[in-house]
């Protein structure tokens, strides 16, 4: 493969598209598949066959974003925002839908696209999502794919690739927000000849599905990002560590690796150069802590996924004691665009200290649930009330939870805050990997804190005492408070214990486990206090408790 071959493929795909009158895209990402998009796809294909019409192309594509309205079908445009879009399509609708092509749209199925949900987004990572067929490498190539890799390995030095990534200001999208360029430079400078690249696709945050959607919708983008990383840091072997709970993403990834290897874009002697880059898939087995980088590496080595103290950081001593670059899926998915369009272009999006866009998974009590990509710095209100369409059932907004079990809940007063790494942190939450769970007045914040503590308690790997025992204690206290059986001294103990667990745990899981408690205490303290009854009323309840025990 060389640049000319890529151009030939692009031309062939374009010519095939020209010869067709209509292109109907059916979302075949996991969420839509689970509400029956597979049958819709088959139904449309049957229609096409029955009508013996080769002027219509029926194409399976990735996530179009508005998953809560799935199955989604788009007609005749390569941008969902401008396409004719249909929602909640069933197999019974396919006949009408097929016969309406080029004629009046089927009004009863129409999904409005002139709404902020589509108009306010800015897509970089998701630019091909919902447009290309994730199982066809030619589709990705026709959309401009693998150009960055080709150019990098034939025309750019490693230092030049590194310079673009540094210049871009890209920060890790997996939670920590560490500057990608700095991490890459450390690995690149390591003297050892043998190095690894790891793509962290564990996505353990409950309520987050950004990485899943990227892998299911545009797997080649992640592979290209990984290969660029391998070139820049000097690594020839790579692993993708992905959750076994994401079978469709695993399958598409494996298909993509095979296709790219066959075309000489991965594997030995990539892009007709002397360079090699081999990618292997490793399955997780359902342990949240395995998203932590040192635990992840232990798991790839076939051991229990328990973290170890850092330093040494993976960049110095990682997989099999070799220098290892470990990045999140979304971080890597940004790389082809950064190398292709330049670091300066990327830096022009977003804010000074949080450049680029961010993909968020919007869920919970919100009208439009799904996947969105917006420039960093966008006010929270715009995400919740405009793009998300506000709170359904006439209820009131109460809080939005960001950053998963390591994050916190932000109340109404922060709605006008720009969403970026530092502002979120100063408000007592974090960006995390991009899960956003919206809550209305029916959610109890004490319950939410207890929920996350239960999660951390279950997921603690048990290696260090503050986390193993501390999360159990914290959970017990929260449970007592939620059940209205606690005293003011329990609340004091809760706060004290939060500090201890935060300060003395070995890895990020324990260190951040108290965050949801601390942030709800900060903004919803009255909810905790309401649960503490005055002494006189508590006596009978105490008796019940002892009887129950």
């Amino acid at each position: 493969m060389n640049l000319e071959d890529l151009a030939d493929i692009t031309e062939a795909v374009a010519a095939a598209a020209e010869s067709r009158r209509h292109c109907v895209r059916v979302c075949m990402a996991a969420s839509c598949q689970s509400c029956g998009s597979g049958e819709v796809l088959e139904g449309l294909q049957t229609q096409a066959k029955q009508n013996a019409d080769d002027g219509v192309c029926i194409k399976p594509v990735g996530c179009m974003g508005l998953c809560s309205a799935g199955p989604l079908v788009s007609v005749d445009s390569d941008q969902p925002a401008t396409a004719l879009l249909y929602q909640d399509v069933t197999v019974d609708d396919t006949e009408d839908l097929y016969h309406s092509l080029g004629d009046q749209p089927v009004e009863r199925l129409r999904c409005r696209t002139d709404v902020p949900f589509f108009a306010r987004q800015q897509k970089v990572v998701l630019e091909n999502s919902g447009i290309i067929d994730p199982e066809q490498i030619d589709d990705y190539i026709a959309a401009g794919g693998y150009r960055s890799l080709m150019r990098a390995v034939t025309e750019m030095s490693r230092e030049e690739v590194l310079r673009e990534v540094k210049e871009s200001g890209l920060r890790g999208r997996g939670g920590g927000g560490y500057p990608a360029g700095l991490k890459w430079a450390t690995v690149a400078m390591a003297p050892e000849p043998h190095k690894y690249v790891i793509c962290n696709a564990d996505e353990g945050d409950p309520g987050a599905f950004m990485d899943r959607a990227v892998l299911e919708s545009d797997p080649h983008r992640v592979l290209e990002g990984m290969a660029l990383a391998g070139y820049a840091v000097g690594a020839e072997h790579a692993y993708i560590y992905i959750r076994a709970e994401y079978p469709l993403a695993v399958e598409r990834l494996k298909t993509a690796i095979k296709q790219a290897t066959k075309k000489g874009l991965l594997g030995r002697r990539i892009c007709e150069t002397a360079l090699s880059f081999e990618v292997e898939v490793r399955l997780g087995a359902g342990a949240f802590v395995c998203g932590e980088e040192t635990a992840l590496m232990a798991s790839i080595e076939g051991r229990r996924g328990q973290p170890r103290p850092r330093p040494p950081y993976p960049a110095e001593e990682g997989l099999w004691k070799c220098p290892t670059l470990i990045n999140n899926v979304e971080t890597l998915a940004n790389i082809p665009a950064i190398v292709g369009k330049g670091g300066a272009w990327f830096k022009s999006i977003g804010t000074e200290n949080s450049t680029g866009t961010k993909v968020f998974a919007l869920a919970g009590r919100i009208a439009n649930s799904g996947l969105i990509e917006v420039p960093m710095g966008i006010p929270l209100r715009e995400i919740v009330h405009e793009i998300g369409g506000g709170i359904p059932d006439g209820r009131r907004f109460k809080a939005v939870q960001t950053g998963g079990p390591s994050g916190g809940c932000l109340p109404e007063q922060f709605l006008d805050m720009p969403v970026e790494y530092d502002t979120l942190r100063s408000a007592g939450s974090i960006m995390g990997s991009g899960g956003m769970i919206v809550m209305d007045e029916t959610s109890s914040m004490v319950d939410v804190a207890r929920y996350f503590m239960e999660f951390c308690m279950d997921e603690s790997c048990g290696k260090c005492v503050p986390c193993r025992a501390g999360t159990v204690q914290l959970y017990g206290l929260l449970d007592k408070i939620a059940d209205g059986e606690a005293t003011p001294s329990d609340l004091e103990l809760l706060e004290e214990l939060c500090d201890v667990v935060q300060a003395t745990s070995l890895c990020g899981l324990g260190q951040t486990a108290p965050n949801p408690v601390l942030s709800t205490l900060r903004y919803f303290r009255h909810e905790y206090e309401e649960k503490l009854r005055p002494e006189s009323e508590r006596m009978p309840r105490m008796q019940i408790v002892t009887l129950d025990d």
Partner: protein, 170 residues
């Protein structure tokens, strides 16, 4: 990483517990990884995919084949949530307990199942028909609350709908 050929051949010569064809698939996984101890998790995935759970004799066979102490194999098998050492019922219902599903009522779904079949997540009914499990986010949060019934994802479930769906299969 790779072992010398002799070791590989010796390990490969170990006889499986019985002549079930599925052991061949397990052997392929181990061979592909050169019978290296690093392949343990991959191998356990294969065993569980083939046999449904990790039986004691499977774990022993894997330990011997990969040259690992049995304690390590058990340590790994019990550390990861997805591995199960108990056989499952004829049907499985996995309730998502991720944040989005929790906020949208996954607890009511578990309660409904418990009321109807007297089993909690992690348990199997006495007649071995239904195993109820819980998962931490299956990544379809836009459709919360979700359950996975015999591998099929069902979204936006209400307790009544869920019971209907289960009644249909068991």
């Amino acid at each position: 990483m790779l072992m010398d050929r002799q070791t590989t051949e010796r390990r490969a010569a170990l006889a499986p517990p019985d002549d079930d064809k599925r052991w061949k698939i397990v052997n392929v996984t181990m061979r592909r990884n050169g019978y290296s101890g690093h392949a343990l998790i991959e191998t356990l995935h294969t065993v569980q995919n083939c046999f449904g759970y990790l039986e004691d004799r499977s774990l022993r066979y894997v330990a011997m084949s990969l040259g690992l102490p049995l304690s390590k194999v058990y340590g790994v098998a019990t550390f990861y949530h997805l591995f199960t050492l108990k056989p499952q019922g004829n049907h499985t219902c996995v309730i998502c307990t991720g944040t989005a599903c929790y906020i949208k009522g996954s607890r009511e779904l578990s309660t409904a199942i418990e009321d109807r079949y007297s089993v909690k997540p992690g348990q199997t009914t006495k007649d071995n028909e239904l195993s109820v499990l819980s998962a931490r986010c299956i990544g379809s949060c836009g459709l919360a609350p979700t359950v996975v019934l015999d591998g099929k994802v069902l979204g936006q479930m209400t307790p009544a709908e869920l019971i209907d769906e289960i009644e249909e299969v068991v």
